[in-house]
C-alpha cells in the first residue's frame, strides 16, 4: 500500500472524527462571530470618525485572530497523539497496513484543514458581506495578507501542538503545556517584553531577540506592515525592524518564520513518533 493511500485512509477517518466532534463548525462559528463583531464595530466607527471602515475592521479582526488562532490550533492538536495512544486508536489503526508516517501525516493534514478551511471561508466572506451590506470597498490586499499570515501562524501552532502531544504522554500535562505555550506566545510580544526589560533590566538585545523569535509577534508585524510604521502601533521591535527591512521584509518574516518554526517542530515530532514506543 502506498503512502498516499495510507494517508488518505487515515485522513478520511480522522475527518469523520473531527466532523463528528464539531471542531470544524466550532472554528467556523468562532471566526464568523469575530468577523461579524468587527465588521459592525469597524463600520460604526468609520461612520463616526470617518475612518476607512473595512480596513480598520479587518485589521482589528486579524489582530484578535492572532491571539485566538494559536489557542484554537493548540487545543485542537495538543492532545491528538497522546489521546490516540491512550484510547487505543493508534493500536487499532497501526495493526492495519498503515505506517506511522501515514498516520501522522494524515492526522496532521486533517487538523490543518479543520482549522484553515473555516478561516479561508470566513475571512473573504466577511469582507464581501461587509462590502455588500455597507457599500464599503474591500481592501483585498489586506484580506489576502491576513489570510496568508493567519494560515502561516495556524500551521506553526498546529505543528507545535502535535509536537506537545507526541512528547508529553500525559494528557493533563499536555493541556497545561499548550496553555503555557499560548501564554508565552501572547505575552512575549514586545510591549510585554519592554515591561519585563524595565522590571528586570534585561539587555535590549535579549528582548528584541525574544520578541522576534515569537511567531505571534512576527505575524502581528506582518499584518501591521500594511500600515504606516509608527512606534505607537508597531512597538519598539516592530518599529526598528520596519525601518530596517521594510514592509515587504516584515511580511516575509511574518509568513516565513512561523512556517519554518512549524516545519521544524513537525519534522522533529514525526521523527520521534516513528522511533518511540507508541503505547
Amino acid at each position: 500500500m502506498t503512502l498516499r493511500r495510507e494517508v488518505a485512509a487515515v485522513a478520511r477517518l480522522d475527518l469523520a472524527e473531527v466532523l463528528r466532534s464539531r471542531w470544524l463548525v466550532f472554528c467556523l462559528c468562532v471566526h464568523g462571530a469575530l468577523a461579524a463583531t468587527f465588521v459592525l464595530v469597524g463600520l460604526r466607527e468609520s461612520g463616526i470618525i470617518g475612518f476607512t471602515g473595512m480596513g480598520r475592521a479587518l485589521m482589528s479582526w486579524t489582530h484578535a485572530l492572532l491571539f485566538l488562532l494559536p489557542l484554537l490550533a493548540l487545543s485542537a492538536t495538543g492532545q491528538v497523539v497522546n489521546a490516540a495512544r491512550d484510547d487505543g486508536t493508534l493500536e487499532l489503526l497501526l495493526a492495519n497496513p498503515v505506517s506511522r508516517t501515514g498516520w501522522f501525516v494524515g492526522t496532521s493534514l486533517v487538523r490543518v484543514l479543520a482549522l484553515v478551511a473555516p478561516l479561508l471561508v470566513a475571512m473573504p466572506a466577511m469582507a464581501i458581506a461587509g462590502s455588500l451590506a455597507f457599500g464599503q470597498p474591500v481592501p483585498w490586499d489586506f484580506v489576502w495578507r491576513g489570510v496568508a499570515v493567519s494560515t502561516s501562524l495556524l500551521l506553526c501552532f498546529v505543528a507545535l501542538g502535535l509536537c506537545i502531544s507526541t512528547f508529553v504522554r500525559n494528557q493533563a500535562k499536555a493541556l497545561m503545556l499548550t496553555i503555557l505555550v499560548w501564554v508565552a506566545g501572547v505575552a512575549l510580544i514586545d510591549f510585554g517584553l519592554i515591561g519585563v526589560m524595565l522590571q528586570w533590566e534585561l539587555p535590549p538585545s535579549a528582548v528584541f531577540t525574544l520578541a522576534m523569535l515569537n511567531p505571534v509577534q512576527c505575524a502581528r508585524l506582518a499584518l501591521l506592515s500594511a500600515a504606516q510604521p509608527e512606534l505607537a502601533t508597531f512597538g519598539p521591535v516592530g518599529f526598528f525592524l520596519a525601518n530596517r527591512v521594510g514592509a515587504d521584509g516584515l511580511l516575509a518574516i511574518g509568513i516565513g518564520w512561523p512556517l519554518l518554526l512549524g516545519a521544524t517542530a513537525w519534522a522533529w515530532s514525526l521523527a520521534m513518533f516513528k522511533r518511540r514506543d507508541l503505547v
Binding site: R12, L13, E17, L92, P97, V279
Partner: protein
C-alpha cells in the same frame, strides 16, 4: 506465516516487562498466551505488532523485522480487548479499516451478521455509542474478514454475549488451516475451543509451554455442587473437602481430570441421599494456574 521471537525483552524504566522470551509460532499454529495481569502478555503482542521497541528479534518466515512492520502488517489482524471510543460513525471506521486491506463494508457486514450484529443498522451511529459487545463484534468481523495469515486476539470475546461467542468460535475454527492464531485469554472455553498450544507468562518470562490438552488437564478447574438433606451425606461431603453453601448445597472446586472420579464416588456412596447434583467447568483460568508452573 511462521513467527519466531528470539530473546525478546522489554523494560519500561526500571520495570522489566519481558525477559529473554524465546517462542516459535509455526504457520497454522493456534497458541494461547495466558498469565496474570501484568505478566507481559500485552507487551509481547505490542512488540510483535511493532508498537514497542525492545531487545531481541521478531523473525517472520526467516527474516528479522525491525520496528517497521509494513511488510508484516497486511498479514496480521488484531482484535484488541478494549475497542477505541471513536466519535466517527461506524460506517467510516469500517470503511477505513477494511479499505486498508482491500475489503468492502459488505464483506465485513456479512461476518458481523454471523456474530448477530446488523452492521448496516448501526452504520450511522458514532462508533463510541455502540455497546462494548457490539464494538468487539465490529473489530472481530474486521479481523476475520481481513484474510490475514496471523490473527492476534486479545480477550476477543470478553464483552460478547454467549450466543455470539459460540459463533465467534465457529468462525475461527472455520479459518484456513494455514492461519496462525495467538490468543491472549483468561477464559477456559476460548482455550478449549480455539487453540492447541498454551504458553504461560509470569513476570515477563515464559514459565510453561505445551499442548492445550496437557495444560487443561493439569490446570483447568471444575466445580461439583451437591444438595442433600442427609446428615450422613453432609458429613461424607465435608470429609472430602466440600464446603457448605446455602440451603443444603455443598460445593467443591477440583482439577478437571478428577471430576469424573469424584462423580462416580458420589454415585456409589450417596445413592438415594442426593437431591440435586451439578458439575460445571470453570469459565476463567484460576490465578494459581498461571502463577505456579515450572520453567519450560
Amino acid at each position: 506465516m511462521r513467527v519466531e521471537l528470539r530473546s525478546l525483552g522489554k523494560r519500561f524504566g526500571k520495570v522489566v516487562a519481558l525477559r529473554d522470551v524465546v517462542l516459535d509460532l509455526p504457520a497454522g499454529g493456534r497458541t494461547a498466551l495466558i498469565g496474570p495481569n501484568g505478566s507481559g502478555k500485552s507487551t509481547l503482542v505490542r512488540l510483535l505488532m511493532g508498537m514497542l521497541d525492545g531487545d531481541g528479534d521478531v523473525v517472520v518466515d526467516g527474516t528479522a523485522v525491525g520496528m517497521d512492520r509494513r511488510a508484516l502488517a497486511p498479514k496480521v489482524a488484531y482484535v484488541p480487548q478494549i475497542a477505541p471510543r471513536l466519535a466517527a460513525p461506524v460506517r467510516d471506521v469500517v470503511r477505513a479499516a477494511a479499505g486498508l486491506r482491500g475489503r468492502t463494508f459488505a464483506q465485513v457486514a456479512e461476518l458481523a451478521a454471523a456474530l448477530h450484529l446488523d452492521l448496516q443498522g448501526v452504520a450511522r451511529q458514532p462508533f463510541r455509542t455502540l455497546s462494548g459487545g457490539q464494538r468487539q463484534k465490529v473489530l472481530a468481523a474486521l479481523a476475520l474478514s481481513s484474510g490475514a495469515e496471523f490473527l492476534l486476539l486479545d480477550e476477543p470475546t470478553a464483552s460478547m454475549d454467549p450466543r455470539s461467542r459460540l459463533e465467534f468460535f465457529r468462525l475461527v475454527e472455520a479459518l484456513p488451516a494455514s492461519t496462525s492464531v495467538l490468543l491472549c485469554s483468561h477464559r477456559l472455553d476460548e482455550i478449549r475451543r480455539l487453540v492447541d498450544r498454551v504458553v504461560v507468562l509470569a513476570e515477563g518470562v515464559i514459565t510453561w509451554q505445551g499442548t492445550a490438552d496437557a495444560w487443561l488437564q493439569e490446570h483447568a478447574e471444575a466445580t461439583i455442587e451437591v444438595r442433600t438433606d442427609s446428615d450422613v451425606a453432609s458429613a461424607w461431603l465435608q470429609a472430602r473437602g466440600f464446603l457448605p453453601g446455602a440451603t443444603g448445597w455443598w460445593n467443591k472446586a477440583l482439577p478437571v481430570h478428577e471430576r469424573a472420579h469424584l462423580l462416580a464416588e458420589i454415585g456409589r456412596n450417596l445413592n438415594g441421599q442426593v437431591r440435586d447434583l451439578m458439575a460445571r467447568d470453570s469459565e476463567r483460568v484460576a490465578p494459581e494456574a498461571t502463577e505456579r508452573g515450572e520453567r519450560s
